[in-house]
């Protein structure tokens, strides 16, 4: 594919814009912004990747991964503003995910230590970890908000903060990881995973593509559970003060997130 064919594909952007105008959906502005942003962002990434791949320098690979973690943290922290120190808690979560998955992958020689493997897999892991963190934080703050009475009941009877919040913590970890597990049950039946489709289109052997996709799926399982659980256990202590009191004002930006 080249830039000429890509510009022809802009037809697929005009269709929704025209429909939006006709049906008064008022989606034109957002569609245009989304298109411009995706073109600029992805092209930039493409050229950066090309540069990093060509140089094969570990420093650049590391820089790319740090950049991913910074971006993921920046995105996810908005959902956890009520949790003190959420920024570094997210950073620790993402670094843990990256270190755990890459150690196993490289340690067992499952993938070679080249930019071509390290960067896309890191991107998928950190990206997924970010989504899971957001799901977890949304759910956790909502659970706490609607169960303050039950949490304070346990505290009032002499329970520790961990005992008081246990149910909400476990529910939130479960709720945020279930979609990952569920989606893997039907994968391939309804739709082909994006990465695998991309590989096949680019000319890879379908069986090879499937093997890689399976690897990614297994990694995503680890990422999902580790992200939620780790973030949960890092987060809950900051909801209480040193007198083991539940801090008020656990209001989230939940209402904003639904709009954006």
């Amino acid at each position: 594919m080249n830039f000429l064919t890509l510009s022809l594909s802009l037809v697929f952007v005009f269709i929704p814009i025209v429909l939006s105008k006709v049906l008064k959906l008022e989606l034109e502005k957002d569609t245009i912004i989304a298109t411009v942003r995706s073109v600029v962002q992805l092209l930039a990434v493409g050229y950066v990747l090309k540069f990093v791949f060509d140089s094969e320098n570990m420093i650049y690979i590391l820089l790319m991964i740090i950049l991913m973690i910074v971006a993921a943290t920046h995105n996810a922290r908005k959902k956890g503003t009520s949790i003190k120190g959420i920024t570094w808690k997210l950073v620790v979560t993402f670094i843990t995910i990256e270190v755990v998955t890459q150690t196993i992958l490289l340690g067992f020689g499952i993938i070679p230590p080249t930019a071509q493997y390290l960067i896309p897999i890191s991107g998928m892991m950190i990206g997924n970890s970010m989504v899971l963190s957001i799901l977890f934080l949304n759910r956790f703050t909502a659970e706490i908000e609607s169960n303050q009475d039950a949490i304070e009941l346990i505290l009032s009877l002499g329970g520790t903060p961990k005992q008081a919040i246990h149910t909400q913590l476990v529910n939130s970890i479960k709720a945020s990881t279930i979609p990952t597990i569920e989606s893997q049950k039907t994968i391939g039946l309804v739709q082909l995973p994006g990465m695998m489709s991309g590989q096949i289109i680019a000319g890879a052997d379908p069986v090879q593509a499937v093997l890689f996709q399976l690897l990614i799926l297994f990694l995503l399982l680890t990422t999902a559970v580790v992200s939620s659980a780790l973030l949960g256990f890092l987060s809950y202590p900051s909801l209480f003060n040193e007198r083991k009191q539940l801090l008020k004002k656990i209001t989230t930006s939940t209402s904003d997130t639904e709009k954006s």
Partner: protein
Amino acid sequence: MTETNQAIQLNQVNYSITGELILKNITHSFPTGKITTLVGPSGAGKTTLFRLCNGLISRDSGEIFINGKSIDDYDPLVLRQTVGIALQSATMISGSIFDNLALPLTLKGEQLSEEDANKLLELVGLEKSLLYRNSKDLSGGQLQKVSIARTLVNEPSILLLDEITSSLDRVSQQDIEKLIKRINENYGTTIIWITHNLKQAYTIGDYTVVMMDGEVIESGPSDLLHNPKTNRTKKFVRGEIE
């Protein structure tokens, strides 16, 4: 130094939420081993006072002594077991009545025997058949009773009761009054009881405290409800301030 015949001593206690003073310079003592009833219009700050004494919240300024010891010198978990509270909402954890009665013990890694659980039910006048029922299936009145029994499991030396009979019928209400009196007599437990029912406040209380707008406006032997000194208490007793 503090006198030890005061179960709870408050000294110029202030508490505010988002800049608004909820408790204003409260100085008051609750005598050990007595039943004190706490009355006042809703929004007066009664529940807030309880939450301070149980350690669910902390004051902005002033001093609180529990059994002669500064509240700050208590481990929060020990404080909450010493000063038991039965919350107005009678909140339950999900699960059976047994799970709820056992909660104070399970939090300590201990277990409640079925025999003891049944004794608790009997104590508060509930059928044994309710033990393994889901807490969602019980009426408000029944839950109030479970909530009281659950608080008793910790054997607190001070018991704070927040409108625990407000959703009970007359007979249950009298049963609970008898139960609380019995606990007070048998174990010397200090009782502080918030109630909207002034007749109850008078009959059950040795002492009564009247709160309004975050202040203690009158206190003394429960007789004061029949002979109020201040105009505001007079109005409140006559039902002119809700």
